[in-house]
Symmetry: D2
Subunit: 324 residues, 4 copies
Amino acid sequence: MAKEIQTIGVLTSGGDAPGMNAAIRAVVRQAISKGKKVKGIRRGYTGLLAEDIVDMEAKDVSDIIQRGGTILQTARCPEFRTEEGQKLGAEMCRKHGIEGIIVIGGDGSFRGAQKLAAQGINTIGIPGTIDLDISCTDYTIGFDTAVNTAMEAIDKIRDTASSHERCSIIEVMGRDAGYIALWCGLANGAEQVLIPEKYDFDEQKIVNNIIANRKRGKRHYIIINAEGIGHSTSLARRIEAATGMETRATILGHMQRGGSPTCKDRVYASTMGAYAVDLLCEGKSNRVVAYKDGKFTDFDVDEALAMEKQISDYQFNVGKNLSI
Amino acid sequence: MAKEIQTIGVLTSGGDAPGMNAAIRAVVRQAISKGKKVKGIRRGYTGLLAEDIVDMEAKDVSDIIQRGGTILQTARCPEFRTEEGQKLGAEMCRKHGIEGIIVIGGDGSFRGAQKLAAQGINTIGIPGTIDLDISCTDYTIGFDTAVNTAMEAIDKIRDTASSHERCSIIEVMGRDAGYIALWCGLANGAEQVLIPEKYDFDEQKIVNNIIANRKRGKRHYIIINAEGIGHSTSLARRIEAATGMETRATILGHMQRGGSPTCKDRVYASTMGAYAVDLLCEGKSNRVVAYKDGKFTDFDVDEALAMEKQISDYQFNVGKNLSI
Amino acid sequence: MAKEIQTIGVLTSGGDAPGMNAAIRAVVRQAISKGKKVKGIRRGYTGLLAEDIVDMEAKDVSDIIQRGGTILQTARCPEFRTEEGQKLGAEMCRKHGIEGIIVIGGDGSFRGAQKLAAQGINTIGIPGTIDLDISCTDYTIGFDTAVNTAMEAIDKIRDTASSHERCSIIEVMGRDAGYIALWCGLANGAEQVLIPEKYDFDEQKIVNNIIANRKRGKRHYIIINAEGIGHSTSLARRIEAATGMETRATILGHMQRGGSPTCKDRVYASTMGAYAVDLLCEGKSNRVVAYKDGKFTDFDVDEALAMEKQISDYQFNVGKNLSI
Amino acid sequence: MAKEIQTIGVLTSGGDAPGMNAAIRAVVRQAISKGKKVKGIRRGYTGLLAEDIVDMEAKDVSDIIQRGGTILQTARCPEFRTEEGQKLGAEMCRKHGIEGIIVIGGDGSFRGAQKLAAQGINTIGIPGTIDLDISCTDYTIGFDTAVNTAMEAIDKIRDTASSHERCSIIEVMGRDAGYIALWCGLANGAEQVLIPEKYDFDEQKIVNNIIANRKRGKRHYIIINAEGIGHSTSLARRIEAATGMETRATILGHMQRGGSPTCKDRVYASTMGAYAVDLLCEGKSNRVVAYKDGKFTDFDVDEALAMEKQISDYQFNVGKNLSI
C-alpha cells in the first residue's frame, strides 16, 4: 500500500463564490486534525506557477467562515492550459512537498486538476460556483448565498415597481445556466422568467400578458432575465414602447458573488472541505466531491465532466402556474 | 374512476414557520390554475371546528410569498384529538363543500389529517416546522430561514464575545431535535455543540477545553446549546465559576420562528404546495409530501410517522475537527 | 379664531422612498387620535384629479410600518403643473371635504402643495426622497435606508473585487446630489468618490493612484460614482485600458428605492407624520416639516424652496484622508 | 506655542459597540495623513497598565470598517480607578512616547481620560456606547446599529406573535437609559413601551388594554421593555394569567452589541475619529467629541459629564398615539 499523504495544497480558481473561505478553513483544519501539513496556494494556478505558496496553520483560518470572497484569492491562468504550464505546476508541487491538491472551483478548474493528476499529483475538486452549473452535483458552493442576495435585491425592486406601477426587468447571473433566474422567479413571485434552457419566449406574448395583467389590476410586472439571455436594457425599451407601461432594467452584477455566506453554504462547504481531505488521505485522486441524491459523495473527474444536467420541468411549470 | 375533486381546503397547524405563506400561495394558485376552488381555514383545526372558513382567490395570496408567519394563522386544538372533534371536522368540510384538505404542519398536525382521512375527507400533509424533526423528509418548511436567523444572531454575539474575551452560550430552538444547533455549530465555527441526540457531554471536559483554548490565545469560546438540553443560564454560571472566564447565556427564542423566508424556503414551500394540489387532483389521500434523496416525493402518512431520523455522525464529527 | 380642521388628506408624490408608509401610518393615527377624519389620495396628484380617494381608518395602516414603497402609490402628474389642474385639485378636495392635505415627497411635490395652498386648501409638506436633496432639512425620508442598501451591496462587491484584484466602479442614486455617494464612500472605505458638488476629478490622477496602490499591495480599488456624474461603464473601460487592472461597473439602480425601512427612517418618518398633523390642527398651511440642527421644526414652503444646501467639506476631506 | 504632538495612542474601553472599528481606523489614518505616529493600546486601560501596546500602520486598519466589535478589544479596569493606577498609566504613555490618547467609550471611560489628562497626558474622548446615554451628544457610536438589530429581531417576533395571536414582551438593552426601547417602540409599532425615564406604567391598565385590543380584533400585542426595568419573564407570567392571552418574553441580549455597523455608524464614527485627531493636533486636551444640534463639535469633559439628557416627551407621546 502507498505511503500516506503528508502535505496537502489548497487553491481557489475561477470566479469566487461565498463559502469558499468555509471550504478552505475546513480543508486546513480537517487536515491538521489528521496530522497533515497544509500549504495555501494564492491566486489559483497562477500562484502555483509563480510559487505564491504559504504554510497554513489552524489559526490562519480563524474568523473567516463568515466572510465572502476567498482569502487565497483567485485568477485566470491561460498558461496552465499548456502542457508546459501543467508540468511546471507539478514541479512546483514537488518542490514544495505538496503530494495532493484540493482545487475549489468550477468545471474549468477541474480540467486543470485533471492535468495535474496526469502529472502525478493527487487532486480532488470541490464544486465552487454561484452558477450551479456543475452536472455531477446538486449543490455548488455559493449558489445558495447568491440566490438569496439576488432575491433580496429583487424584493426591494418590487416595492418600488409596485409604488410606481412599473414593469421591472432584473438580470441575474448564471452564465449559460438559468438556475439563479429560475429560483428567483419562484421566490420573488415574478410574472415571467427567461432562461437559456427554455428559450421559447415570445416577446409579443409577454407584451399581451402585461397589458392583460394591468387591466386585471396587478400593480407591477416583474421579469427575471438570465445572464445567458441578456440584453435587458433593450428589452425594457421595447416593452415600454409596446405596452406604454414604464419599464426599467437592472443588471444586478457582481454583488451576487460576494457577501457573508448563508448557513447552508457554510455547512455544506465545510463538509465538502473535510470530505476532500478524507479522500486524499485514502489515497484517492482525480475525483470531485459532490452532493447528489441527498448525500455527500464523489465522482471520477472524467465521468463528472461528461455528465449532463437539466432544469426541472416541474419547477419551471410550477413557476408559471403560480405567477397568475 | 372517481369524480375529480373540485374544492380544496388549506390550513396551517402547530408552530408557524417562515415559508408557510409561500406554501399557501402555491396551493391557492396551483389549484386555481387547474380550475379548482380553494377555501382557507383559519387558525388550524380550531378554525375548522369553528367554521372560520373563507374563499380564496389568486389575488388573496398576492404579496405574501416574502412574509413570515402564516396569513391563515395557527393554533393548538385539543378538541380535535377526540373522535367527536374529528367527526365534527369532517362534517364541517362537507358542509362547506371541501373534498380534500392540505394540512401544513408537523407530525402532530399529520396525525389530525390521518383522522380526517379516516372520516372520508382526502388529506395531504406538507411538512412545515423550523425543527426539521419530520423523519420522512430531508426538508421542512422554515428550517432554512430559522437556521440563518440563528446564525446571523450568533455572528453578532461572536463579535462582542471576541472584544471582551468571553464565553457565550447560545440556546437555539429545535424542541427535541438538535438540527438547528448542529448547523449553527458548524456555520458559526462554535467551539462546542450540545444536542440531545449526542448527549455525551462532560462539563469538566468543556471547562478544561476553555482553559486550554484561552492559553493558546483564542479570544472567545462559543457554545451552541439545543433547546432539548436547555438550562443555558445555570450552565453559564457554572462555567464562569470553574474557568474564571466571563460567561453569558442568550436564549434566542421566538425570533427564530419569524422573518422573511429564505430563497430555499420560498422555492421548496412553493413546490410542495403545488405538489400537494397535484396529489389531491390525482385522487390521493392520507399522504405527506416530502423532499427525500434529492427529489420531491410523497409517503403514506402512517408509514411517514413510523420512520426514524438520525443526525449525521459525519457532520457532527466534522464540526468537532473544525473547532480546533 | 378659525374653525378647526376636521378632515385631512394625505398623498405621496414623486419617487417613492422607504419610510413613506411609516409617515402615512403616523398621519392617519395621529389624526384619528385627535378626532379627525383621514382620506387617502392614491397615486399622488394624479389620483387627486381622478378622485382616487379612500377613507382611512387606524386598521388600514396596520402592519405597514415595516414595508418599503408606499401603499398610496405615487405618480408624476404633468397636468397638475397647469393652473387648471390646480383648480381642479382644490375643487376635488372641497368635494370630498378635505380641508388640509399632507404631501409626502420632494421639492417638486412641495411646489404642487404651494399651488394648492394658493387655491385655499391648507397644505403641509413632509420631505420624502432618498436623495437628501431638500435644502431646509438635514433628514429626508428614505435616505437612511437607501444608503444602507447601497452600502451593503458595495460591501459584497468589495469581497469579490478583493478576491480577483479588481477595480470596481459602483454608481449610486441621488440625481444631482452626491449625498448617497459621499456616505457610501466613507462607509465602504472607497478609494475614490465622484460627486457632482465637487466635480474636480482628474481621470489621470485616478489612473496614477490605482497603479500606485497596486504597487503598495492594495487588493482592490473601489470608486463610488454618483448618478449625477454617470457614465460608469465607459469610465470602467477607460480605466481598464489605462491601468491594465480588470475594471467592472455596477449601476445599483432601483433596489435603492425599496426595502424595509431602517429604524431611523421609521422613527423620523413617524414623528414627521404626527408633526404634520399637529401643524394642520394648529391652522398652519404652506409649511414643510424639517429636521434641522437636531430638532423637528417647520419652514414656510417658499422660504424652504429658496434655501441652499452644501456638502460638508470636512466630511469630504476626511473621506480622502481615510482612503490611504 | 507648544511643540506639536507626534505620537497618538488609541484605546477602546467599556462595553464594545459596532462602529468602534471605524473610529479606530479613522484615528489611525487621519493621524498618519497628518504625519503622526499611532500606537494601539489593547484591552482598554488594562492593556495600558500591562504595556499591551502596538504600533499601527494604515494597513493594520484595512478591511475593518465593516466589522463589529473592536480589534483593540476592551476590558474593565478597577485598578485604573486608583491614583496609583492613573500615575502608572501616564508613566506608560511617556515610556512609549505617547503624548496624547484618544479614548473611545462611555462616561466611565471619559472619567479615566480625565485622570490621565490630570497626569499630563493629552486626552480626547469619543462617545462609544450602544446605550446613547452620554448627555453632551445626540449621537454615540453603536446606537444606530443596535437599534436596527433589535428592531429586525422584533419584526420577526411580531410575525409569529401575529400567527399565534400572542402577547410578546421583548427586553432590549440600554442599561439605565430607555433610548433603544423608545426607538423600537416607535419603529416596531409596539402597543406598549416601558422605559425607566417614564416609569409611570400601571400593570392593570396594560392588562385592560390587551383585553380591549383583542376584542377589537388586533392579532398581537407587543411590549418593548427596557433593560433598566427588567423582569420580563415574570411580567409575561402575570400578563398571561390576567388576560388569558399566551404571553412570551424574549431577552435579546448581547446580539445587540455586535454585527456589521450601519452606514450612519460607519460615517459618524469615522468623522469623530478624524475630528479627535484634529483636536489633539491643535493641542487640545480633556475634551470629548460630540454631535450636537446637527454639527460635530467638542466639549470640556468636566462640562460634558455634568450635563443632563432627557427623553423627548413629544416622541414618547407620538408613540402612544400611533399604537392605537
